[in-house]
C-alpha cells in the first residue's frame, strides 16, 4: 500500500474495479493527473486495471490490439486472458500453453497478476486444484479473494472461511475483504445472508450502484425468500446495462420463483451471452431430460 503521505491515485480505480464500475475505471485512468509520477509498478497495475476493465465490458479486440509483444509481464498475462476468453477451442489451448510457459519462467512466474490470470483461466477450465496451486500463497488481496472464490466453487466453504480470515487479518475494511465476506455468507446461507445483505448495502452507500452490487443485494433478498423486492433491484440493474449477463440470469431465476414467465429474459441471455452458465445448464438439462425419457419408456 502506498504511503499515507501522498494520495494513492489507484485507490479509487481499484475500488471501482472491484465493485464492477468498469466504465469508471476506464475514465478514471484518463483523469489521473500527469504530475502524479506513478512508479513502474503502479503504472503496470494501472494499465492492467484498465485492460481488465475493457475485458469486463467485452472489448476484447481492443485489448489484443493494444498490448504488444514488448509489454510487461502483467499486461502479457492480461492479453492471454483476453485471447482465452474470446477465442474458440484453439485459442483457448494456445493461451493456456503460453500461460504455462510464462508461469514456468522463474523470472516472472511469481508475478501476482500473472498468477491471478492463471487462476482465472483454470477456474474457467474447472481445474480448481490447478488454480489453487498458483493462487494459494496469496500475496495480494485479489489473490486471496480468488482463493475464497475457488474454494466456494469447489463447494468447500470451510476452506473459503479460512481464506477470508486471512484477508480480515490483513485489512478487514478492504473492499475485497467485504465482498469476499459477502460471498461466503451467501453460500453458507442461514442467518449469514443478512450480514451479506448489510455488506452490499454498505457498498451501495459508498459507491454508485453497479450491476454487481445490485445483483448482490438482489441475491440476498432472493435467498431470504423476498423475490418481489429482488426483482425490483434486478430491473434497476437491467436499466443500467440491458445486456448484463448476471442480471438477465438472475431475472430468469427470480421470475420463475415469482411464478412469472422468464422466456423473454432467457432469450435475451441466449442472444447476448450464449456461453453463460445458465444457458449451458439449460441445454444440458434438456439433454438430460430427453435421455431420462428414453430410459423410462
Amino acid at each position: 500500500m502506498a504511503g499515507a503521505a501522498s494520495p494513492d491515485h489507484l485507490f479509487g480505480l481499484r475500488n471501482s474495479f472491484y465493485v464492477g464500475a468498469y466504465q469508471a475505471v476506464i475514465t478514471g485512468v484518463q483523469a489521473i493527473p500527469a504530475r502524479a509520477a506513478l512508479s513502474p509498478d503502479a503504472l503496470a497495475e494501472r494499465d492492467s486495471l484498465l485492460y481488465r476493465s475493457y475485458i469486463a465490458i467485452g472489448s476484447h479486440q481492443l485489448v489484443i490490439d493494444e498490448i504488444g509483444p514488448g509489454a510487461a509481464t502483467p499486461l502479457q498475462a492480461v492479453r492471454l486472458l483476453t485471447v482465452y476468453l474470446s477465442g474458440g477451442a484453439g485459442g483457448k489451448e494456445s493461451a493456456i500453453r503460453k500461460l504455462n510457459e510464462l508461469l514456468a519462467d522463474d523470472a516472472v512466474g511469481s508475478n501476482p497478476i500473472l498468477r491471478l490470470v492463471a487462476g482465472t483461466v483454470l477456474m474457467h477450465e474447472r481445474d480448481y486444484a490447478g488454480a489453487l496451486k498458483h493462487t494459494n500463497s496469496g500475496g495480494t488481496m485479489e489473490l486471496l479473494a480468488m482463493n475464497v472464490q475457488i474454494c466456494l466453487q469447489m463447494h468447500r466453504s470451510d476452506h473459503a472461511e479460512k481464506q477470508l480470515r486471512i484477508m480480515q487479518q490483513l485489512d478487514e475494511d478492504h473492499t475485497l475483504t467485504q465482498l469476499a465476506n459477502a460471498w461466503v455468507d451467501l453460500v453458507m446461507g442461514g442467518s449469514k445472508i443478512q450480514e451479506a445483505h448489510l455488506i452490499f448495502q454498505d457498498l451501495s452507500e459508498k459507491y454508485p450502484a453497479t450491476c454487481l452490487i445490485l445483483n448482490g443485494k438482489a441475491l440476498c433478498l432472493m435467498h431470504m425468500g423476498n423475490f418481489e423486492d429482488a426483482e425490483g433491484l434486478l430491473l434497476e440493474s437491467l436499466n443500467k446495462d440491458a445486456k448484463d449477463a448476471e442480471t438477465l440470469a438472475n431475472l430468469v431465476v427470480c421470475s420463475l420463483n415469482l411464478g412469472k414467465s422468464a422466456s423473454r429474459y432467457l432469450n435475451q441471455l441466449k442472444l447476448a451471452h450464449p456461453d453463460h452458465m445458465l444457458v449451458k445448464r439449460m441445454s444440458s438439462a434438456e439433454d438430460s431430460f430427453d435421455r431420462a425419457c428414453q430410459a423410462i419408456s
Binding site: T120, A129, F289, C293
Partner: protein, 1218 residues
C-alpha cells in the same frame, strides 16, 4: 464553567438576577448601577444617582422595581420602566452593605456599617424595625425564602438569625396610633419587634456573608478567616455542622445553589469554588489572574450564577443543559436523568431503555456531551468531558424496551470525541497525536489514521468518512483513502447537522450557520447576533434552526426568516411539515406546531413550483406586507398583486408587472391625475392604444389625445377633437388639430375668427383658396401683406396615414400560472358486469313449440367396484437437518514441476448443494430442481404411474433453472451458482442445508384454479382447459409442508379432473355438427360432472336448451327441474320455468344413452356412461374412470399416466415420509 456573559467595568459590588427576564443588575464601586440583558449581551440602562459606591442591589420579584443601597447611607427604590428613582429611604448612619426585597410583604431589609439591620416598608416608606445586637459592621442580611427569619453576618465574627414573626403579625392590622407608638418605641428602645433567635459563633474573624438554604434548615457562611461554615438549625437551637477549607484569602460571598446540591463561594483570593453540599468536599475551582471576587448571585429559577470582581462580572453556569441526542430515522435517542431513552416521532411515544452508569467520581459537567447511534447494530456511543474526554459504547438489546436492567457493561475509552463511521465501526479522536483510532464493536482498534489538520472534534460525514473540525475550518476526510474530500472555512463549528439524504450539511457555530453540500462546497452563510442552538433539515431541503429566542428557517438560496419566538431555548430533533419535535433543557420531548407556509411559499417560488404557489394563493394561506415585499424583490410582482389591498400599492405592482387590466381597475378607484397619467405612459409603452385613449380622456388631456389619434391614423377622431377644442374656445388646440388634419380651409377660418386676417389671407393664398383670398383682400384693403416673390409655392400637408390601426400586435402569451383555475373533472366510474356469461354457453332464444311425444330410457347397472386403496410406499425418512460432516477424501496431488506448488495440497472438492438435495429427498419436485431427472421420473412413475413425461419437460426445466442464483464475484472469473433454499429465517443456522425453494407452489395452483374458473364462466373453454391441465401437470412436482395441505392437493386433483373431463366433452360436442343425439348426450354427461354451482347452472341451462330444441321434452324438463334446484338467477329461473311449462307431460322425441335415474361415471376416453355395477378401470394419477378396453393406454384426461397401472400414490410432502 460555561461562561455565558462577561462585562468589563469598575469593581462590581452588588448583583441581582431578574426572576423571569434575562436581565441582571450590577452595582459598581463607582456608584453606577447597570442593567444588562445577559442573553443578548447588551447594556439596557444605567442609574447613577448614588454618591459613592453602591454595594447592594436587588430586583423585586414581581414589580418593576429594584432597590439599591450605597455608601452615601441612602437606600433608593427605582422603577426601571420609568428609569427613575421613586424615593429614598433615610435612617442608616453609615455605609449600607446589602439590601433585599421580601418576596411577599412590602419590606426591604438592609445591612449597614452602623451595626444595625433595618426593615423598611417601601409602600409607606417608613422604617418598621431596627435590629440591634451586632457590635461591628453588619456585612449582609437577607430574608428567609419562606419563614419569618432574617440571617445576618457581621465583622463581630457572628452570624445571627432573627425572628421577625412579630413584625408580620403587627403589620397585618396597622393602626395609626399603634404605628406611631411603634415608631417611637423603635427610636427609643431598639428592635422590640424582632428578636435574636440564634447567635452562631465559630468563625475566627469577621463574617462577610451568610445565607439560608432554599429549602433545608441550613445556613452557609463565609468569613475573613478564609473558611466556609455550614450550620444547621431547628426550632430551639443552631449549631455548626462542618467547615470547608480551601480559600486562601477572605471569603467574600457564599450561597447554596438553587437547583443543585452544591455550595458556591468566591473570595479575595481571586477564585470561585464549588463544593459538594452533602460530602463537604471541594469539587472545582475557577480562578482569575488579577481580579478579586466580591459578590455572587444565583438565579432563582435557572441554572445560572453570576460573580462580580474587580474589573466586571461574569454570568456562568456549571452544567451543560443541552441534552445529548442523536436522530436516526423515525427515532431520537437521548440521555436524560442518567437514562438512555428514545422517542418515536410517529407514535410520539417515549421509551426508557436502560440506566447509564454514573462515573465513580463526583464532578461537575459530566453529563453526556454527544451521542452517536448505529441503527443496524443498535449501538449507542456516548461522549462526555469526564477525565478530559471519554466515551462509552453501549449495545442495546433489541427487546430491552421497558426493562430497567443495566445494559451490558459499557466499553470505555479515552478520546476527544467518538462517532460511528460505519455500521460496526467507530472513530475516536486522539488529540495528543492528532489521529483517529478506528474501533470495532468490541472496542478493539482496527486501524489508526493520522488526520490532515489539527483537529478539535470529529463528526460523521458518510460511511467511512469523517468531518474534522479545526479552529477555523472543517474538512471531510476519507478514512480508507486517507484523502481530504472537501474543505471549507467555517468559524469554530460546534454542531453538525446532515440532511437525511446526506447531500447537505449545516455547520452551527456560536453566531453563524454555514450551509454546504456533501463535499463542503459552500452554499450560504447566515450570521446571527445571538447564539445558534440547534437545527434540523425538513423534507423539502429547508434548514430549520433555533437561536436562544427564535425558530428560524434557511432556504437553499440563503434566504432566512423567523418562524416563531421562543421563551426558552429548545433543541430541534425533527421537522415534519408544520411540526417541530424538540428537546428542552430538562430533556423533555416537545412538539411545537408552527406555520410553515411562509417558507414553503418562498421555497415554491425558488423552485419555480408555480402550481404550489398558485394553490397557496388560492387558499389565502399567506398574508402580510413582508411577503409582498419579498415577492417584489424576487421578481414576482404579479404574484404580489394577489395579496395587495391598498389600491396605490396595487397600482404600482400592476404597472411593474405590466398588468394593465388591474392597473386600470386601481386607477379607477384612485381616480387622480397622476395615476391616470402614469397608466397612460405604461399603456403607451405596451402599445395598448385603447387604454391610452381612456387614460387621456379621464384626465381631459386633449392635446395628448389628439396627437394619439394622429399617430394612430384616426383622422375622424382628430376632427372630433378639433370641434371640441372649438367648443372650449381653445384656439391653439383647435389650430393644432387643423394642422394635424391638413385642413387649410379650417385653418383660414380659425385665423379669421381669431382676428388674424393677414395670416388668414396668406394661408388662403398659399393653399390656392382664391375666393376666400379675394374676400379677405377686400376686407384688408390697403393692408394686404406682400407675398414673397420668386418662390415656388407648395402645400404643407402632413402625410396621410396608410392604415388606421388600433392596439399594437401582441404575441399570444400562455395564461400565467397564476391566472385561471384548475377545473377538476371527475371521471365516470366504469361499471363492471357481474357474471357475464359468454355466448358459447348456448343462450340462444328458445323457440317454444308444441311437442308431440317422448320416450323414456331405462336400464339397470351394476355397482362400481371399489378402487384399490393406495398403498403408501415406505420410503426412507425425510430431511435430515443435522450438520453435514464431509469426510475429506484422500487425493494425491499431481506432481508439478514448480517446487513451491509441490508443498501445497489442494483440498478435495466438497459436495454441491444439489447433490445433497438428491441424497435426502424422495420428492420428485426436489429431484427435478437438483437436475436429477432420472430419479424424478422414476419416482413419478412408481408413485403415480406417469409414463408420458413430455408435458412435464418445461416444468422440469423451470424447477432446475429456478433452483440456483448466480453470484458475480471477481471480474472475468466464472460466476458462482448459489443454491436457493427454502424456509430462510433470521435465526437459521449457516451451512445447514435446507430443501430447494421450488418455483411451483400450492398457492400458485390455487391462483390458477381461480383463473381457470373464470375462463370457464366466460365460456372460453380452450383457455380453461389449458389452465386446468397446467394444474394437473404441475401437481406431481409441488411440495407442501403439512398433512392438511396434502389432503388439499388431493382434493384439488379431483376438482380439476372433473372439469377437464367436462370441458373435453364440451369441446367434443362443438365439433359434432350433424349428430344431434350425440350432442345432447355429451351435454347431458357434462351435467354429471362435479362442478361449482355457478358452472353447474350454466351447464344445466345449456343442456336444457339443447334438448328442448331437439324436442326431447322429458329430458329437457329434467334439466329444468335440476336448474331450479340450483338457485338460479332470475333470468335462468324464468327460462327454466318456461321450459318446464312447455315440457310438462311430454316425452322425448329420440332415445338418448342417458339415464339420470341410474348413477354413472363417464369414461374419459370414449365419453360413454359407466353405470353402477359395470366394470371400469381408473387412472392411477388423476383417478379418471375408463371402460375396461382403455386399460394400458395413456390417460386422456391428465395425459400423463397409464390407465390401470399400479401406483403407490401421490407423495408431495416430507410429512408423508415419516
Amino acid at each position: 464553567m460555561l461562561t455565558k456573559f462577561e462585562t468589563k467595568s469598575n469593581r462590581v459590588k452588588g448583583l441581582s438576577f431578574h426572576p423571569r427576564r434575562p436581565w441582571i443588575l450590577a452595582s459598581l464601586h463607582s456608584g453606577v448601577i447597570q442593567m444588562w440583558d445577559y442573553r443578548m449581551g447588551t447594556l439596557l440602562d444605567r442609574f447613577d444617582e448614588h454618591d459613592g459606591p453602591v454595594r447592594g442591589v436587588h430586583f423585586h420579584a414581581t414589580q418593576p422595581l429594584f432597590v439599591s443601597g450605597g455608601d452615601d447611607y441612602k437606600i433608593k427604590v427605582w422603577n426601571y420602566k420609568t428609569h427613575r428613582c421613586l424615593f429614598t429611604l433615610h435612617g442608616h448612619l453609615d455605609y449600607i452593605r446589602t439590601v433585599q426585597f421580601h418576596h411577599e410583604c412590602p419590606w426591604i431589609v438592609s445591612a449597614s456599617d452602623d451595626q444595625t439591620i433595618r426593615i423598611w416598608n417601601w409602600q409607606s416608606r417608613t422604617c418598621v424595625a431596627v435590629l440591634t445586637g451586632h457590635n461591628h459592621y453588619v456585612m449582609c442580611a437577607s430574608f428567609h425564602p419562606k419563614e419569618d427569619l432574617v440571617v445576618s453576618a457581621s465583622l463581630d465574627q457572628t452570624v445571627r438569625v432573627w425572628d421577625i414573626s412579630a413584625l408580620r403579625k403587627k403589620s397585618v392590622s396597622p393602626a395609626d396610633d399603634i404605628l406611631r407608638l411603634t415608631q417611637m418605641n423603635t427610636d427609643l428602645f431598639g428592635g422590640v419587634d424582632a428578636v435574636v433567635k440564634y447567635v452562631l459563633e465559630g468563625h475566627d474573624r469577621g463574617v462577610n456573608w451568610a445565607s439560608f438554604h432554599p429549602t433545608l434548615p441550613l445556613i452557609v457562611s463565609g468569613a475573613d478567616d478564609r473558611q466556609v461554615k455550614i450550620w444547621r438549625m431547628n426550632d430551639t437551637k443552631a449549631w455548626e455542622v462542618d467547615t470547608l477549607r480551601g480559600h486562601m484569602n477572605n471569603v467574600s460571598c457564599v450561597m447554596f445553589h438553587a437547583k443543585q446540591d452544591i455550595i458556591v463561594s468566591n473570595s479575595e483570593d481571586k477564585s470561585i469554588r464549588i463544593w459538594d453540599a452533602t460530602k463537604r468536599t471541594g469539587i472545582q475551582t475557577f480562578r482569575r489572574e488579577h481580579d478579586r471576587f466580591w459578590i455572587l448571585s444565583a438565579h432563582p429559577e435557572m441554572n445560572l450564577l453570576a460573580a462580580g470582581h474587580d474589573s466586571g462580572m461574569i454570568v456562568f453556569k456549571l452544567e451543560r443543559e443541552r441534552p445529548a441526542f442523536s436522530v436516526s430515522g423515525d427515532t431520537v435517542f437521548y440521555v436524560k436523568d442518567r437514562f438512555l431513552r428514545f422517542f418515536e416521532f410517529t407514535t410520539q411515544k417515549e421509551v426508557q431503555l436502560a440506566p447509564i452508569r454514573r462515573p465513580g467520581s463526583v464532578s461537575l459537567n459530566q453529563s453526556p456531551k454527544t451521542l452517536s447511534y448505529s441503527p443496524t447494530e443498535n449501538a449507542v456511543l456516548i461522549c462526555s468531558d469526564v477525565d478530559g474526554g471519554s466515551y462509552e459504547l453501549y449495545i442495546v438489546p433489541k427487546d430491552s424496551a421497558g426493562r430497567a436492567d443495566y445494559l451490558q457493561d459499557a466499553k470505555k475509552g479515552a478520546g476527544g470525541s467518538a462517532v460511528f463511521v460505519a455500521r460496526n465501526r467507530f472513530a475516536v479522536l486522539e488529540k495528543s497525536s492528532n489521529q483517529v483510532l478506528v474501533r470495532n464493536l468490541k472496542n478493539e482498534i482496527v486501524k489508526k489514521s493520522p488526520l490532515p489538520i489539527a483537529t478539535d472534534a470529529i463528526y460523521y460525514a458518510g460511511t467511512g468518512s469523517l468531518l474534522c473540525k479545526a479552529e477555523d475550518r472543517v474538512t471531510i476526510f476519507d478514512l480508507q483513502q486517507r484523502l481530504i474530500l472537501g474543505e471549507l472555512q467555517a468559524p469554530s463549528v460546534k454542531y453538525v447537522v446532515w440532511s437525511s439524504d446526506m447531500e447537505s450539511v449545516a455547520l452551527l457555530s456560536k453566531h453563524a450557520v454555514v450551509i454546504a453540500n456533501k463535499k463542503l462546497v459552500h452554499r450560504c452563510t447566515l450570521h446571527e447576533t445571538i447564539r445558534v442552538k440547534s437545527g434540523a433539515w425538513d423534507e423539502n431541503g429547508v434548514f430549520i434552526y433555533t437561536t436562544l429566542n427564535h425558530i428560524k428557517y434557511c432556504l437553499p438560496n440563503g434566504d432566512s426568516g423567523i418562524i416563531k419566538t421562543l421563551d426558552v431555548p429548545i433543541y430541534i430533533t425533527r421537522v415534519i411539515g408544520n411540526n417541530i419535535f424538540c428537546l428542552d433543557r430538562d430533556g423533555k420531548n416537545k412538539l411545537v406546531t408552527v406555520d410553515a407556509s411562509e417558507y414553503i411559499f418562498k421555497l415554491a417560488l425558488l423552485r419555480k413550483r408555480y402550481d404550489h404557489v398558485m394553490s397557496m394563493i388560492k387558499n389565502s394561506q399567506l398574508c402580510g406586507q413582508a411577503v409582498i415585499s419579498y415577492l417584489q424583490q424576487k421578481g414576482f410582482p404579479e404574484v404580489a398583486l394577489h395579496f395587495v389591498k391598498d389600491e396605490k400599492t396595487r397600482f404600482n405592482l400592476a404597472l411593474e408587472s405590466g398588468n394593465i387590466q388591474i392597473a386600470v381597475a386601481s386607477a379607477k378607484e384612485i381616480d387622480d391625475k397622476d395615476h391616470w397619467y402614469r397608466l397612460g405612459i405604461e399603456a403607451l409603452r405596451q402599445g395598448n392604444v385603447g387604454i391610452v385613449e381612456y387614460a387621456y380622456q379621464r384626465t381631459k388631456n386633449f392635446e395628448r389625445l389628439a396627437f394619439l389619434y394622429l399617430i394612430t391614423g384616426y383622422m375622424d377622431k382628430v376632427g372630433f377633437m378639433c370641434k371640441i377644442a372649438g367648443q372650449n374656445n381653445n384656439l391653439m388646440g383647435q389650430f393644432h388639430n387643423a394642422l394635424y388634419l391638413g385642413d387649410a380651409m379650417k385653418r383660414v377660418e380659425i385665423l379669421e375668427n381669431a382676428g388674424q386676417l393677414p395670416l388668414a389671407y396668406i394661408t388662403a393664398t398659399t393653399h390656392g383658396l382664391t375666393e376666400i383670398a379675394d374676400r379677405l383682400a377686400a376686407e384688408l384693403g390697403e393692408n394686404i401683406p406682400s407675398l414673397p416673390e420668386g418662390k415656388a409655392r407648395s402645400l404643407l400637408i402632413p402625410p396621410a396615414p396608410l392604415t388606421a390601426s388600433g392596439d399594437w400586435p401582441l404575441l399570444r402569451v400562455m395564461r400565467g400560472i397564476f391566472e385561471g383555475g384548475l377545473d377538476a373533472t371527475g371521471k365516470a366510474e366504469l361499471e363492471e358486469d357481474d357474471e357475464a356469461a359468454g355466448a358459447d354457453w348456448g343462450d340462444e332464444g328458445l323457440d317454444i313449440v308444441d311437442a308431440s311425444e317422448a320416450m323414456a330410457n331405462g336400464g339397470d347397472g351394476f355397482d362400481a367396484e371399489e378402487g384399490e386403496a393406495n398403498e403408501e410406499d415406505g420410503e426412507e425418512g425425510g430431511w435430515d437437518l443435522e450438520d453435514l460432516e464431509l469426510l475429506p477424501e484422500a487425493e494425491t496431488p499431481k506432481n508439478a514441476g514448480n517446487a513451491r506448488s509441490a508443498v501445497f495440497v489442494a483440498p478435495p472438492p466438497g459436495m454441491p448443494v444439489s447433490l445433497i438435495w438428491t441424497q435426502k429427498s424422495s420428492l420428485a419436485g426436489e429431484h427435478a430442481a437438483a437436475g436429477n431427472f432420472d430419479t424424478a421420473m422414476r419416482l413419478l412413475s412408481r408413485q403415480l404411474g406417469i409414463k408420458n413425461f413430455a408435458p412435464l419437460k418445461p416444468l422440469f426445466l423451470d424447477l432446475h433453472m429456478g433452483s440456483h442464483s448466480y453470484l458475480h464475484a471477481l471480474a472475468t472469473a466464472p460466476i458462482i451458482p448459489v443454491a436457493v433454499e427454502k424456509g430462510w429465517s433470521e435465526s437459521a443456522s449457516p451451512n445447514v442445508r435446507g430443501p430447494p425453494a421450488l418455483v411451483f407452489t400450492f398457492p400458485q395452483m390455487e391462483d390458477r384454479l381461480k383463473a381457470a374458473y373464470k375462463a370457464t364462466t366466460d365460456g372460453k373453454f380452450p383457455e380453461a382447459l389449458r389452465q386446468f391441465l397446467s394444474i394437473l401437470h404441475t401437481i406431481p412436482l409441488i411440495v407442501v409442508d403439512s398433512r392438511r395441505e396434502v389432503d388439499e392437493v388431493k382434493e384439488l386433483i379431483e376438482i380439476v379432473r372433473e372439469y377437464v373431463l367436462g370441458l373435453r366433452m364440451e369441446l367434443k360436442r362443438k365439433e359434432l355438427r350433424d349428430d344431434v343425439n350425440r350432442q345432447q348426450e355429451l351435454a347431458a354427461y357434462f351435467t354429471n360432472c362435479k362442478l361449482q354451482r355457478v358452472h353447474m347452472r350454466l351447464v344445466l341451462g345449456s343442456a336444457m336448451g339443447l334438448c328442448y330444441k331437439q324436442k326431447n321434452f322429458a329430458t329437457a324438463e329434467h334439466f329444468a327441474r335440476m336448474l331450479l334446484e340450483n338457485n338460479p338467477n332470475e333470468a335462468q329461473a324464468r327460462r327454466a320455468r318456461q321450459v318446464q311449462q312447455q315440457c310438462s307431460g311430454k316425452k322425448d322425441s329420440s332415445e338418448l344413452n342417458y339415464d339420470y335415474r341410474n348413477p354413472f361415471v363417464v369414461c374419459g376416453a370414449t365419453y360413454v356412461p359407466i353405470y353402477r355395477g359395470q366394470k371400469d378401470v381408473s387412472c392411477p394419477y388423476c383417478g379418471s374412470r375408463f371402460v375396461p378396453s382403455i386399460e394400458g393406454q395413456l390417460c386422456t384426461i391428465c395425459e400423463l399416466a397409464v390407465v390401470g397401472a399400479d401406483a403407490s400414490g401421490l407423495v408431495c410432502s416430507p410429512t408423508q415420509l415419516r
